[in-house]
Structures are given as structure tokens and as C-alpha cells.
Symmetry: D2
Subunit: 290 residues, 4 copies
């Protein structure tokens, strides 16, 4: 089936009567063909006022205008609804920078999905504090940057990462088991752009060596969590999680091995939700329109 | 939190531009507050024309009229869209008849959920081909009908079941491990009203003794399937399924035991989807708006 | 299939060469037929010396003597191996006391399994701080004790619970969503006998209102944990855990509803492992021989 | 932790009293240190006589002799027990041949695990009916053979595959989404050596285009099955299976994408069980000693 070009409109606003009617009315008035649409009204469990979330895919060829004009025409309605929103074009590839350390499983997995076009993105480059994967990455035709990080050069190293990310015009940074803790100012600089995979079922086992912590506690399932990076370690909005069953016979090494399978699957799902604008963040939580 | 009374409008129609806009426009025009709304456009994977499915919950107290008038006012729009639709009132309890044989797990589970009001339904009666559960059911204040079925009395027995179901004005018949095969004419008489739990992951292991079949084949997971009953055995639209891991050490008896846990959970989820009008059937498949 | 009477021998000891050979040699020498046997050597992940765990089911009719004589004859070997061990007889029913508060799901589930003989135990009595379930429990022919607990009567109430448990000669106390925190001295009195079901995936969300905590954090899976009670709240050895997927549309009430299904399944599995001597505790962790 | 060299002894025999005692007695008599041991007695669910299965890992440095002498000394006991058995050495790498077509996900996944030494095997070569992965495979330093298969050259092509497999002294052939049906005589030539990943939850959806079949039936979970190849298509002994949840909004293409994640995880687990001699086959079923 040929893939149809479409625009994805997503956003959220304070809840009130008639939001769907007005937004879908705007699209219908221009004969826009909605391929997929999702809505969620969050009443905040009584803790706060209601908020309304939405996401729509509209066939590009059904509209009489392109993205720039869509934006201009939609803005007055969005303003009236106090909506935080964006619209993206499926024909424009997302620009992703991958950060890795020494573990290969997430990197291979992402390269495999990119190679088969399951992930239809531009991998601008891979950045690593080790050079182990230089040859592999370059063999795929992707630039590789070795940016060593050590106790003495941290500010310079992180400045270099920032420089590269800005230079390649990245819009998404994937920490694919990048084993360094990024400084708060770097985390805050790209809100909603940095995606991490943490090797535990958060909020259990925050921080270092989560499989050792899990082994000590004797849990019967281990997990992985894909989340946005914020300046607070492992506290950002959770995008996706999953677990796998273990038992008393599994050593820490076994857990690490099982864990890799969960980590790469969870990262891949979370990243896809992000790239397809299926994730809306509010109050440190995510709405995921699968 | 007090539960708010709401109307649930659900239906499907041939896909075209502007359906959401027109339906949500109708509701907004009457100041209807949409609590939850779901849409799905099925392009039929290229096999058939597109079809559009929708479900909305609207706060009853936000509308200036009641159900009868809603129906009357909405009908012209629905007709124009060639929509198959219905609307229901959360304040009107569904009328459920439960059919059981000798196994108790699904019955206890449904009674427990009914007792705690998790299932906020009217259990009109329980019908069984055995009298094992008479005292338990009646202790709960629910009428019990013993309708024995044997090779010689089948037409009379099924006529009696039909008579009871009609008399109590049932709108849903739950086959909670009712181990008799209902005759085709009875199945056809109440389309979309009869829900069965089959003790395998369909389409594997259709028919009798599925756990024995699973044991013979040496599968590593066993499952259960909740589906609408049609005149073809175990071929009706699937509502919900789940599986559980087994291994070589599990005997058929172990599988039966594990299977019970899956069966009752899958039946309870499937039944809830049905009772809340979350299931839309088309072409022997279901759309489930969770 | 008729159930065969068997003895279950389980225990653990410091690891060394030849343990299996000596224990199974002892049984073979008396022509004992081993139905099932499991072993585990824990090397402590380098943190401590190795420990050896074992469990065997031996057909009672294959041995030339009964339990008392088995114990006497086996003791010298066990002493030599510094083994902590026990042996039980499948023909002797375990004596279980169930503690509940106001939530019914675990109670109904246990009664259902008991009624069908899936749980082949003696339920000595049900104790509750409310009288909501008195009639239901007594209808099943099981004694019910209403022991109210309030800020002023705690010592007396817990003394009464202890008195009842001792009087009925309970060997297992199941806290089936008993919403009171038992005093440390009561917890310490019956080590390895008190089983709790906690409504979160421990160690996440210890303490009160775990579903509210889960809602606040925005996790994508919720869980339940069955564990032995120790004097430290929610810190005892974990027997069994499981999770279920939720999403942004689920309110705290939805989580509570989904959670019940996990709680009762996890409690039932954990309790069965315990009753069948499949759980061996060491260093606040469990070996589970499924 | 340094990995200790060990021998894995596995086998099965007709059940009788004293097997464990005699086998573990033999090992203890030579001061063999058992790292891990598993047993299973299958009473055949009443359908056939009992059979006994076992697997042990023994530290190589604890024994006073090497593999050849172990074999010679153990043979008389094995013969007496009518045991089918083998013993392998963890220091000897298994020799694996990977067969692929055009889909890359399983190949990348296996290469990634091999690269990181999670799979500590010798990949003798990759054989494909397409040359798409030649450069990737050779970049990893692994020989690649392009053996085109078309309606006219089948006998010659399969003879060539056999020749290569024999020449490299392969002991395991992995069909990593190799989309050709191998001829019965080739399947029969290497019993218990050929491992396939089928993209459905068998026995559902045998044969071609299982995701299309799943889409048509409207199932709520899709799966994958790792099994030994026999001359009957998709009927061999099942090693491992898993499933993933889908819903009405998933197209066949979505299922294919989700399915890949299950396929590679299931293949990797099944392959590991095979390589570590954790799989014992009997009567078209497997005992898996995890």
C-alpha cells in the first residue's frame, strides 16, 4: 500500500464544550479527510481543572493548502481555545541524534529499524563517549562523533554535544543506553526532545545499577522505562514501560541479558510514539495516542 | 467521586469527509458536554470500502432534553450518513441472564463483581443444566432456573431458555462456561446479545477439550477468548483474548486450573466492553473502544 | 486422575559436593518414587557463600514407612548437611485463616477456589474488622469473627486475633486486602506464616494509596505483590508479582478496578506456592519451585 | 564474574525409582560439582508410560577427567537406564549457520547478540536466496553465501545448502525468516538441528501470510513460534512462543511491524535454550529446562 502523505495536528487546551466540533468543523470546512483522530479529556482526578488533548491525521492531498497556510488559518481558533499545538508533515523526516556508550543492543536495534525503513527518519549522527561503534555506524553511512567524557572535561564535552546537535539541526536526541548523566542545563535546553531508556521499571530502582538493586530486593519481574529527560534524574514524564518475568535462578548477569530485550523494545516503541507526535506531555505525565 | 449520568452514542457508517464535524457539531449545538469520544476509520486493508466507527459519552445534565428527544433529533443526521447507531442511558441498568453448567469460577467471579457494584447490572436470573449452584445464586437474591438438557429434550429445553430470556426481558446472555452447544436458530435469534467464553486462544483449538488439544500439541502459552455467539461454533466476532505461560511440567489438570484465571478475567473484560457499548461489530470483527 | 498421596520434602543448606546424591540416595534406598524434584544452587552473586535449595515430592505408597519414621531416619543426614528442612503430607489439609476488611474480590476468589477444591485446604475461619461478609462466609459453612479495630482498642483487638489463630491451630494467615497494619510483635510471632497482597508492584509505591501514587507518577503498568509479612511494612520476602497495562485514560477508579484482577490472581498463585511448600525463604528473598 | 567451564549432561529415559540417585551418585563419586540441575518426570497424562528427563551442569575443574573419559565411564549406567543422552563442553563453541531471505530484523538481532558475546557461538556463515545482506554480513567478518532459489533450480539449490552446511561442520541451522519451504529430505537429514521462527502463534495460522490470516479473523493478540523443523510444515516440536496485543486500529502492516519484535525475541530465546542443551524432545513435544 503506498503511504499517503498526511499532516498531524496535535495539542491540548483547557476543557470546555464544543472543542471537537470546532476543530473538526474547521477541517471539514476545508474538505480535510481525517485518517485518524484521538481525544482525551482529563478531569485531573479532581486535583485540577479539566484539560483536553487531541491528535488528528489529515490527508495532505485533501486540503486546498499546505502547512504554512494551515498554520496561519488555524491559529485564530487555537488562540481562542488557548490551545498549545503543533502540526507536522509526514513527508518531512525527523532529525535524530543517537547517543551511546559501550552497550550495543539499542544501537543495533535502531540501525536495523532504520535500515528497513521501519523508522523512516534521518539519523544525523551518532555521538559516543567511546569509539567502539565508529566502524559499524560509519559502515551504515552515518557520521560518528567520539566525544570522550571524563571528570575533568565535562563542561567542554557537553558543550561539544550541544554544538553538534545544534549544527545538525537535530529535533530528537535518543539516549540509547548513554551511561553518562547529562547536566541539568543541557536537559532543560531541549525539553520534550531528549528520550532516555532507563533499565528499570520506574519509579523502582532509580539511578545506578538497577539490576543489582532488583536482585537484592528479590523482585519477580524486571522492567525498562522510556521517558523524557528532565533536569531531575529519572523523574521525567514516562512514555512507555514493560516488564519481563525472572525467577530465583536468574543472576544479575541473566537479568542484564533479559533486560536488554525489554530495553530495546520499550525504547523503540517510545521513540515511535514521539516521532509520530503521539505523545502529549502535561504536568509531568504523558497522554499517548496509540 | 459521584458517578455522573451520561448517554452513550455509538455507531458506524460509510466513511466520508466531515462525519466527526457533523456529529460533534450536533452535540455542541445543544451544549452537550462530551466526556469521552473515540473514532476509528477502517480502510478495510484495501479489501473493501472504508467504514467509520464512533462512540461518545455525553453528560446527561448538559443536554436540554432526554433520550427520546435526542433520538428523534439525531435521526435525520444519522439517516443522511447511513449510520447504524444506538444511544443508551447510564442510569438504565442492563438486563443480564447468566448461563452456567458445573464449573463455578466464572459464576463466582461475576457474582463478586456484581456484589461490589463493579458490574452495575441487573442479573435477571441464572439458568443452568445442573442445579449445583441453586443455593449460592438464590442466597444472592437472584432467581435460579434449572433447565436440564439431555439428548431427548433439547428442543423443549432450548425453547424454555428462550421463554425465560424473553420473559425477563434480557438484553444480554452470558455463557459463563455453559457447556452445551446452543442450536443455530437460538444463536441467530439474539445477534450481538450472546457472549461466550471459550477456553482456548481462538482460532487454535476450536470445539471440545481445548486444553487436551493444547497439551497434545505442546504449546507454551494457553489462552481464552470472549466472543459473540453466532450459528457457527466458535467462529463469532472476537471481543477479547488473553494468554498465560505454561511449561512442560504442567499437566492437563494444571492447564485447566491456570485457564480458569484467564477465562474469568477475559470474560469480565469482554462483558464490560459489551455492557458499556464499547464493542462495534462489522464483518465478523469487532472495534473495541477501550 | 485420582490424586496420589505424596510427601513433600523441602529445605536448604550450605552448598557442597554431593548433596543431591546423598538426599536422593536416601530416598532411593527406601524405594521412594520421586514425582517431582527441584534444586537450586545460589552462589549469592559473589556477595555471600553458596546455598543449596531443594524440594521433592515422594509418593507415600512407595515408601515402607510413614512421616514420623521418615523424619527420624532423615534427621541424621539433614544434620550432617546443616540443612533447615521440613516434610509435609499431601493428605493433611493446611489450616488457613483469612483476614479481610471491606473489599470483597480476594475473599470471593478464595472461596470460589475452595468451593471447587482447587484450594484443598481447611479454612478455619474468616476474621474481619467489619461485619460485611458475615452472612456470605457463614453461608459457606465457615466460621466468621468480627474483630473491630479502632485507635483505642488495638492491643486488645490484635490479642484477640492471635487468640483465635492459635485456638483454631492455624498454620497460614492470609491478609486478603486486610487494610490494617499489624503490630510488629504479631508479625514476628508467625514468621513465614502470614501472607499479604499489596496493591502495587513493590518496591514502587510502598504504604497507603498506591494507586493514587501510581496515578500521580504516570506509570504505564500497575501491579500487585504477594509477600510474607515481616515487622517492616511492605518489606518482606516477595513470593509473586504481576502487572497490567493501563493508559492515560484510566482514572484512579479504573486502576483500582484493574488492580483487583491482578491482586486476586497474584494472591492465589502466591498462596498456592506457599501451601505446596514451593517457597523457600533465605536472606529476605524467596526461591519458588514452580 | 569469570565464566566457569562446565559440562552439560542431558538426556531422557523410561521412568523408574532411583534415577536421580544413580546419576547424581555417579557424579558425586568423582567429586563433580553440580552447578545447576533439573529433572522432569512426565507421566504422559495417562496416554503413555512415564518418561524421565534430566539436565545437569557440572564444573569441569571439579572432575578428575575430561569429556571423553566422562563419556566412557558414564555409558554403562546410561545403557542400564536405557537413556538417550549427550554431554557437551561449554568451552567448545557451537557452529551455527544462519539462513535468511530479505527481512533483516532477525539477522541484525542475532549479529548484535553475537557481537556482544551474549551469543557465544561460531557463526560459520550466512546463506541467503538474496544478496541484500552480503555487505553487512561480511563487514562482521562472517562468510556469506548467495544461493538463489527459483522454481527451476530447487534440487540443486538445496543440495548446495546441504553441501555448505556439511563443509563448515554446522551443528545448528537457524532459519531466521528464511522464506523458502525446505524439502522434506533436507528437513529429515538434520533432526533437532534446524530451528525455525514462524510468524504466528501456532497452531493458529499455519503456512503463508499469517498476519493476513490474523487480520481477517480479528484476533486481539498476535504471536510468534520458534520450533524445530520437521518434514511436516509448521508441525515440529515447539520450543518457545510469545504474543503481543493488537487492536482494531492495527493494519496488516502494523501487525508485521509489531510481529518483528516478537519474532526476534522468541527466536533468540529458543535458540539459546537449544544451544545450552536446555531442550529435550520427546513425542513431538519439548521439555525446556530454563
Amino acid at each position: 500500500m503506498p503511504v499517503r502523505r498526511f499532516y498531524t495536528l496535535s495539542g491540548s487546551c483547557p476543557d470546555q464544550v464544543g472543542i471537537i466540533a470546532r476543530v473538526s468543523g474547521f477541517i471539514a470546512q476545508h474538505r480535510g479527510w481525517i485518517l485518524e483522530s484521538s481525544y482525551h479529556a482529563d478531569d485531573g482526578n479532581g486535583d485540577r481543572d479539566g484539560r483536553y488533548f487531541m491528535r488528528m491525521e489529515v490527508r495532505a492531498d485533501s486540503l486546498p493548502f499546505h502547512l504554512a497556510e494551515f498554520r496561519e488559518r488555524f491559529r485564530p481558533l487555537a488562540d481562542e481555545l488557548s490551545m498549545t499545538w503543533k502540526i507536522s508533515d509526514s513527508a518531512v523526516k525527523r532529525r535524530v541524534v543517537i547517543m551511546v556508550s559501550k552497550q550495543e543492543h539499542c544501537l543495533y536495534d535502531l540501525l536495523s529499524r532504520w535500515q528497513s525503513k521501519e523508522l523512516d527518519i534521518e539519523i544525523c549522527c551518532v555521538i559516543s563517549n567511546h569509539d567502539s561503534f565508529k566502524a559499524l555506524v560509519e559502515w551504515h553511512g552515518i557520521p560518528f562523533h567520539h566525544v570522550p567524557v571524563n571528570p575533568d572535561n565535562k563542561p567542554a564535552a557537553y558543550a561539544e554535544i550541544r554544538r553538534i546537535y545544534d549544527e545538525v539541526k537535530g529535533d530528537t536526541m535518543v539516549l540509547a543506553r548513554y551511561m553518562q548523566i547529562l547536566p541539568p542545563d543541557l536537559c532543560d535546553r531541549y525539553p520534550g526532545q531528549m528520550i532516555n531508556i532507563h533499565h528499570s521499571f520506574l519509579p523502582s530502582f532509580v539511578g545506578a545499577r538497577p539490576y543489582h538493586q532488583a536482585y537484592q530486593r528479590g523482585v519477580k519481574l524486571i522492567g525498562a522505562t522510556c521517558h523524557y529527560v528532565t533536569s531531575e534524574l529519572d523523574q521525567g514524564p514516562i512514555i512507555e514501560q514493560d516488564v519481563i518475568r525472572i525467577d530465583h535462578s536468574d543472576s544479575v548477569e541473566d537479568m542484564v541479558r533479559y533486560g536488554k530485550d525489554i530495553e530495546k523494545a520499550v525504547l523503540a516503541r517510545g521513540l515511535r510514539y514521539h516521532l509520530e507526535d503521539r505523545v502529549l506531555v502535561h504536568a509531568n505525565k504523558t497522554v499517548i495516542f496509540r
